[in-house]
Amino acid sequence: MRTFEFTRASDPAAAVRAGAQAKTAQQGADVRFLAGGTTLLDLMKLNVETPARLVDINRLPLGAIEAMPDGGLRVGATVRNSDLAYHPTVERDYPVLSQALLSGASAQLRNMATTAGNLLQRTRCMYFRDTAMPCNKREPGTGCPGATGCWPSSGPASTASRATRRT
């Protein structure tokens, strides 16, 4: 894993300011918000994500599930999947949401993963996760082995990955 600076946001506005310092919001962003960490740290171990700075948002007051006057439900960014799935209102009024959450991952991961993190989760494609392989999502323009087969016929990326894979 690459080195990074670990910071903790004092309030949501500070977190937004810290995030705004990243040169991009998505691919290759050098500032990432850290909540459950179940996808981000996984990808950082693989060097797919290489942020220079992590902003821990776990202690921000974003963990509430609130009924709204119009009948809707407001779910905080750091509400854990398990807390959302087992919330009485969700179980009663949004059973599909509850069942969908409980169908995903494991009990441990559901205790960690957050609602906002779900929305930001990256693809689970094995080519995306493998930096020895080309991937249009990870490096736009390099190709997609999922569409063309594992061993694309040309290009420096494919040559490198072929060498890596055969040794």
């Binding site: 894993m1 080195t3 990074f4 600076e5 670990f6 850290l34 459950g36 960490g37 179940t38 740290l41 996984d42 171990k45 992590l54 821990d56 776990n58 398990s82 087992y86 991952a105 494991s106 009990a107 441990q108 991961l109 205790n111 960690m112």
Partner: protein, 216 residues
């Protein structure tokens, strides 16, 4: 040397014995070479130690004991427990949150410690397999005489073969006792699906958990 070891001495753990034995054999193999420090026990890094570059101070409450340490921000909770605090009961399997061998409790909830950074848990309560049961002696030592009921059930039902996944299985199973879970074996299997056992001890694991849940 092994023949001289007493069957059970509370001050001698299997790990300490094996470490010393490995160090002794390495030392004899290297006879004539410069002295090595292979057998020297590693000391847990305390906050008073000289800070390593980039390390940040963290205070964890592990198994009821406050631990003030300095860690590289990249250190996972798993590596912090194993390498810094020398609590090696928690195991590293896949290191990607898929196998469950690293399961510990953070503030009473089970999590995969491999997908969490130690610095995220400043001030939080961590429980590892060493902290289960009434026999916890501190310093990473439990006692086989006072097991948690789940630990005793795993022994009684032979809920393991090689044992590598067992601490994660037990930590998961203990947390399951406090989670919404239906009465059937299938419900237990579903909620234990985050813990993989390569030996396939699943039937006995489920039996052990059900025995504890039914209070029999």
């Amino acid at each position: 040397m092994a023949d001289d070891a007493p069957a059970r001495r509370p001050d001698l753990t299997r790990r300490a014995f094996l470490t010393a034995a490995a160090g002794a054999s390495a030392a004899s193999a290297l006879a004539g070479c410069a002295p090595t420090s292979l057998a020297a026990p590693r000391a847990a890094a305390a906050v008073d130690d000289p800070p390593t570059a980039g390390a940040v101070p963290v205070t964890l409450r592990v198994n009821g004991k406050e631990q003030r340490i300095r860690v590289d921000p990249r250190t996972t909770l798993l590596d912090c427990l194993r390498e810094t605090l020398l609590l090696t009961g928690t195991k590293k399997g896949c290191d990607h949150g898929q196998c469950g061998a690293c399961t510990v409790h953070v503030s009473g909830r089970r999590v995969n410690s491999c997908l969490s950074l130690a610095v995220m848990h400043d001030g939080e309560e961590i429980t590892t397999i060493e902290g289960l049961g009434e026999g916890y002696l501190g310093e990473g030592l439990g006692t086989p005489e006072a097991l948690h009921p789940m630990q005793a059930a795993f022994v009684a039902f032979d809920g393991y073969q090689c044992g590598y996944c067992t601490s994660g299985q037990i930590m998961s199973a203990v947390a399951l006792l406090g989670e919404p879970c239906g009465p059937e074996d299938a419900d237990v299997k579903e909620l234990m699906s985050g813990n993989i056992c390569r030996c396939g001890a699943y039937p006995n694991i489920v039996a052990a958990i059900q025995r504890v849940r039914r209070g029999a």
